[in-house]
Symmetry: C2
Subunit: 335 residues, 2 copies
Amino acid sequence: MIETPYLLFLGDAPDALAAKVAQGIKDWRPQNAVGQLSLPGCKADMKLTEMTIEQALDAGARTLVIGVANRGGTIAPSWMAVLEKALIAGLDLASGLHNLLKNEPTLVALAKEHGRTLHDVRIPSVTYPIASGEPRRGMRLLAVGTDCSVGKMYTTIAMDAEAKARGMKSSFRATGQTGILITGNGVPLDAVIADFMAGSIEWLTPDNDPDHWDMIEGQGSLFHPSYSGVTLALIHGGAPDALVLCHEPTRAHMRGLPGYQLPTLEAVRDTALTMARVVNPGCEVIGISINTQHLGEEEALAYMAEVEERMGLPTVDPFRQGAGRLVDALPAPKG
Amino acid sequence: MIETPYLLFLGDAPDALAAKVAQGIKDWRPQNAVGQLSLPGCKADMKLTEMTIEQALDAGARTLVIGVANRGGTIAPSWMAVLEKALIAGLDLASGLHNLLKNEPTLVALAKEHGRTLHDVRIPSVTYPIASGEPRRGMRLLAVGTDCSVGKMYTTIAMDAEAKARGMKSSFRATGQTGILITGNGVPLDAVIADFMAGSIEWLTPDNDPDHWDMIEGQGSLFHPSYSGVTLALIHGGAPDALVLCHEPTRAHMRGLPGYQLPTLEAVRDTALTMARVVNPGCEVIGISINTQHLGEEEALAYMAEVEERMGLPTVDPFRQGAGRLVDALPAPKG
């Protein structure tokens, strides 16, 4: 649907986390990114060649992807000149922001004038059902986190890649804009109407072969007051057989909420299991995924060893170590 | 906003629960309902005078309120003749259904032709913020339930009426279409976009006098797979100081989900408190509200006595006994 390859627009990203859309594309579809374009003050870097729009076109780019998000999901005024220039020069635009490209009259007019396309992957394109709660065939894994942006997408997309490499049947199921931009489909869950959240996840993870795994991208956290309802809808709509707990150990407080400490892994395990077993009594936590990007190697390994001992579960950083031990820990398909 | 009085349209309601919009108006604003209009096969009865549209107009009705909901919130084809006739005869229409009056071309055309208004109270009319999780002044109570449709709105509207009768500062905060139709304002939470659910409830229950109570209408249940995310957003957005647990003891299974048993009151208490204390560490369960409409008087009293003993909390049916003991149990205002 979105024409490749991309020029990844990093804007004036205040930190690396803000550019997780670009990072996800760089990590999982590097062949689709010809380069990056940053504005002054940008604190994110994909280690791709920095390019002007003209250079990106010369390198074959077809679409400028907004690879950065700011709180609230708005299109920053400082970005507009670049977006306008991209359309005029001959690139489509793709965005996962709350505020839509198609609601910017200047962009709509330029796209029309130059025959370009505006892709807003945040808008649901499907009428989702209300969740039925009915059991489905096939196996499902869901990532749940102590916070937002702790590596849930990374963990499930890495597990999917590892499972496929082993010849297992597996599908990564994207529930956020980055995942959708990477895979080309999914549910933009945080933009779904409240009553249809769980139903959208049932729709995303339908009946499948008994030995097929849906690796479902998590969102938010049961303990994050802004987004917890989205997380619970994922748990009940996904009806997971297996959970993987995701955590970032250096986070000083919940993302965006200075007054809130992160919950313990034990608290997330207990509450997530209680909720998951409402729809899937056999659900188990099968492992822990730690995002150790802010720790040195030795410190990271020591921390993971401590967590593994304390929780009694395989504990890895899939970025450092791969997702092999998490895939090893998946249960056998149901009878 | 909506012109009164109303003619309450009951349609072909399959049971009394399906007509809870009409019942709420009848119970809490009886002066606003001149009569009811049922179709053949209707199983709900408000004990109001059955009227034709012409009789309702003669009795002063200004608006036909759709007082019935079917699963999925659609406008049944069998209702259309009545709705069309109402517009032609001179009534406005008001609806809290998912499917909107304004999306029905015939109704839109007739309303325009006859100068009538279509009120869809299900559509949010406000751009809600993302929840900040910041503490607010004033006191808040939230009803949480073992299931949908167990008396959460009734409990909080009855507590609000009781508190006001005692001269306390109190506001009923509607989060569903019935409450909005009764009070004229509120948040249609199940129609809010996922990311803004908790923020909409912060918006609904802003800073207030230290001794003011928001009596917040609950929605769904943490244990109802179709709607649990909505419930958790209410808990985190409402940041309640006090919870009241709501239950209907004769329910054979979760509403709409034959495969699901209701959770115990203990399970709802423990999970709701764990979640509420994320945003309000002082939160307590202060009482239990039992909907005993399907029990005889003696049976109801025996059941409530057993629950009160087992749970150690005031246990009442506010419909039979009033909400006095629940209001008695409210904690003193914070510092």
